[in-house]
């Protein structure tokens, strides 16, 4: 199949819009073309090479307060026509549910900015054999110590074209490249098996790829949890690594600040704008315009531009994330989206964050550890918090025991339980060091008063 250009995808979108435009109907078409080369790792060896190309078009139709959606992965004209007809049929069959079912007001041209660092032209010459070299580099670096067992991993490279057109005359397209890799497994020494753990990394730029570094980081992570033993139950301090902090606290905060969840009664952050929801040390900013950011793009899933936005500032909730539907429902009008329409071509735009920047604190990780009398370092927890009640409990994975300011040893057979709303308020310290976890830049945090339970 011939690689499709930005113009060809945009043409397909415009064809759908022209075909579906009738009086009383609003229509939007979002199209993609993508090509990928992936090398996967399995059981300490190269597993498979996978090459993939796909295209697709998502068509959204609004008709007197109702919405219909259809998607198709063939961009032939007949397939597009059929898909438009289906979307119109579904809109006609749906009961009207309100004035929020309409297209966004067309933003001014000046609001859009081409983001730098999203596309690396050298990706076009990056072949399967090049992906293989990077994958092997990661595997070898991880296995320099023979106790490290790589269960799985992959190196993925590719590029993508996104385009959107709608019946307000909007017409936009963008091309980006992406390189991402992960490695997962454990360490084994005799009968002693460490916790399962993983590392991952992503970038738009080939020059930033360093799979060996990630392989080594993974090896260090699993090796240091060999020889883990149980500990007794106690209530103490927990230092969350950036990974654990994002999984346990940041992700739920982003769920709770989605206007979709707020409006549908699924968020405890409803009516909490300008109220304190976390300790003063917590500041979260969402910004989809950062050059080179993995969550950056010129336009969101419904064609709206992004802008930097404060979500939580010094512990105070500042804003919800909106797409056009939630903005209208929330009284912000058809131009009120914050640019957080998210998703792929095959579904209706949802609400999602772009790049998250969690402000660094004023102490180093070492200082943080030395201030802990009795506690643990948490790298991962099995189980997710319930974002509705805030309750969580789970087994500590790759945990380390801290006593009198020193890391004593790895622990196993330990559970922690608590409530994310309490933990957010109990953040006592935030580290200067931060790690980039795909589109999130996050520090280590110290949380007080967590129940640590020996199983």
């Amino acid at each position: 199949m011939k690689h499709m250009t930005e113009q060809e995808i945009l043409d397909a979108c415009e064809f759908a819009v022209d075909y579906g435009s009738k009086s009383g109907i609003e229509i939007e078409a979002y199209g993609v073309f993508s090509t990928e080369n992936t090398v996967s790792l399995e059981r300490n060896d190269i597993a498979t090479g996978v090459s993939m190309e796909y295209s697709g078009l998502g068509i959204r139709v609004f008709k007197s307060g109702s919405m219909g959606f259809s998607s198709v992965n063939s961009l032939e004209k007949d397939s597009i026509k059929k898909s438009v007809e289906k979307a119109v049929k579904i809109a006609s069959a749906s009961p009207p549910s309100g004035e929020h079912n309409r297209l966004p007001e067309r933003p001014e041209e000046s609001k859009y900015r081409r983001i730098n660092g999203l596309y690396d032209p050298s990706i076009e010459e990056f072949e399967m054999k090049d992906a293989l070299v990077r994958a092997i580099g990661m595997l070898k670096a991880a296995r320099q110590d023979s106790r490290v067992m790589v269960d799985s991993g992959s190196f993925e490279s590719g590029w993508m074209v996104r385009a959107i057109a709608n019946s307000t005359g909007l017409s936009l397209s963008e091309k980006s490249s992406s390189l991402s890799y992960f490695i997962m497994g454990m360490a084994r020494e005799g009968d002693d098996v460490s916790s399962f753990n993983y590392r991952y990394k992503g970038t738009h730029m080939l020059s930033e790829v360093d799979t060996e570094k990630t392989g080594k980081e993974f090896a260090d992570l699993v090796l240091k949890t060999l020889g883990a033993r149980k500990t007794e139950s106690f209530k103490g301090q927990v230092i969350m690594t950036p990974d654990a902090f994002v999984d346990l606290l940041v992700s739920p905060v982003m769920y709770l600040t989605s206007a979709e969840n707020v409006q549908k009664g699924r968020s405890a952050f409803a009516e909490k704008i300008d109220k304190t929801v976390a300790a003063e040390k917590l500041t979260i900013t969402d910004d989809g315009t950062i050059d080179g950011g993995l969550g950056s793009s010129m336009f969101d899933r419904e064609g709206n531009p992004h802008a930097a936005m404060s979500v939580v500032e010094n512990g105070v909730l500042k804003s919800y994330l909106h797409n056009t539907r939630t903005a209208i429902r929330g009284g912000l009008g058809p131009a009120g989206s914050t640019g957080h329409g998210s998703g792929g071509f095959s579904g209706v735009p949802g609400v999602g964050s772009t790049n998250l920047d969690i402000a660094a604190g004023d102490i180093s990780l070492d200082e943080m550890i030395s201030g802990v009398k009795k506690g643990i370092i948490l790298t991962r927890i099995s189980g997710y918090p319930d974002p509705i009640s805030g309750h969580y409990s789970g087994t500590v994975k790759g945990g380390m025991l801290i006593e009198d300011g020193e890391i004593v040893r790895p622990i196993t057979g330990t559970m922690i339980s608590g409530n994310i709303f309490e933990n957010l308020r109990d953040i006592k310290a935030v580290s200067r060091e931060r790690e980039e976890l795909f589109s999130v830049l996050a520090p280590y945090v110290l949380v007080d008063d967590v129940s640590i339970i020996s199983e």
Binding site: V39, R43, S70, G265, H391
Partner: protein, 462 residues
Amino acid sequence: MLDTLKKAMEEAKADYAELRFQERDVTAVSVSGGEVDQASSSSSRGTGIRVLYRGAWGFGSTNSTKYEDILETLRRAEVSAKVASENRKELVKGIAEGRMARGLFTANVTGNLRNISIETKIETVLDAANRANSDGIATTRSLYREILDHKILVSSIGVEAEIYDSKPEFMVSAIAKESGVLVSGRESIGVTGGWGELFKVHSPEDMADSAREKAIRLSRAKVVKGGKSPVILDQGLVGLISHEAIGHTTEADFVLSGSAAAGMVGKQVASPLVTLADSGVSAIAGTAAGSIPVDDEGTLTQETVIIENGIMKGYMHNRETAHIFGVEPTGNARAYEYTDEPIIRMRNTFILPGDMTMEEMLEDVKDGYLLKGAGSGQADANAEFMFDVQEAYKITNGEIKELFRGASISGNAFEVLKAVDAIGRDFAYDMGAGYCGKGQPAKVDGGGGPIRTIVTIGGVHQ
């Protein structure tokens, strides 16, 4: 399309080639807060091609149906395999041959989903969400989703199968608010079949009522206290443990990576009462959501016994791992979309029912819990698991007492199965609305008879 695939296959230079054309139509309706969030229809079609070339795999996919594009995709897969082959330390030594499929395979359907109008689907979801709403309920949600598949599978060892599949699912949930705390109640079902099979056991109305009542009940319940305790686990939790905590460790690729089931064949891993199987097609598999007559390597599926009377009998295999272990492939190689390569996945995983009634099982429990409703959770390769439980009823002297919420269970799944001292006779599946994730989704199901055992209950630590 069959001829195009066969013509391309004849051009293969690889030692083995497998071509899978897949056409998929997905219709979904979701309602929340009393309004239609989205009603949608997605169509996709394309071909995934996998080759084995000098001991390494290559895979490629295309959404084009043209012969030249399919041939080019085959060539790309061959290049990928060649590049991998030159760099692999250990080469694939062979792929076992099982009972390979030829012919037409069609899911049994009552009420073909293509003949049920989009209006009916929207109305069913909207009605259920409205019905689940009442005083004390903050919000409700309901969704319907159907996956209709048409596949044509050919391979160079003579597989030539055409498959029609139909898998609908339905879910309704209610969130109750009591003194500032939000608690949800949820009912769901997913099957292989049509509209008739989907609502055969419970109507959408019954499920809406049940979700609402559960949410209200739970909102008034106290939070459970933790500790080790005798418990009776309902069919949903039995399915969840069978799938997540036991099943995954017995997938042969995980076994080769050193999962807890490695080296356990022939050993006592559970109570003699326990027989655990994973089934693609069998009497007990019935219309369960994970049923498939043929896997995506073209192997005819069957009932695969993993644990028989407490003894581990074998693992779940694709053709490659079956060759390594010297057994027949079990038909567990599955791919979700044409863009996915087949990997080892479960189908319907369950513990066979026993002979006891719930009353008999309760009788001997002096102080314990009846745990109902699977929630979210996680399990590790060492069979350690942690799952949320929807409802925890205290059992005192054989009688069901007060309801608690906020419970989770944890432990080592094999230890939990060793401690089983009773299995109930009421068999049910309860995982059909969900998906299993292993890099790609899969429709699976899980269930069993209820079991009596010992687990660690986690709750809010006081």
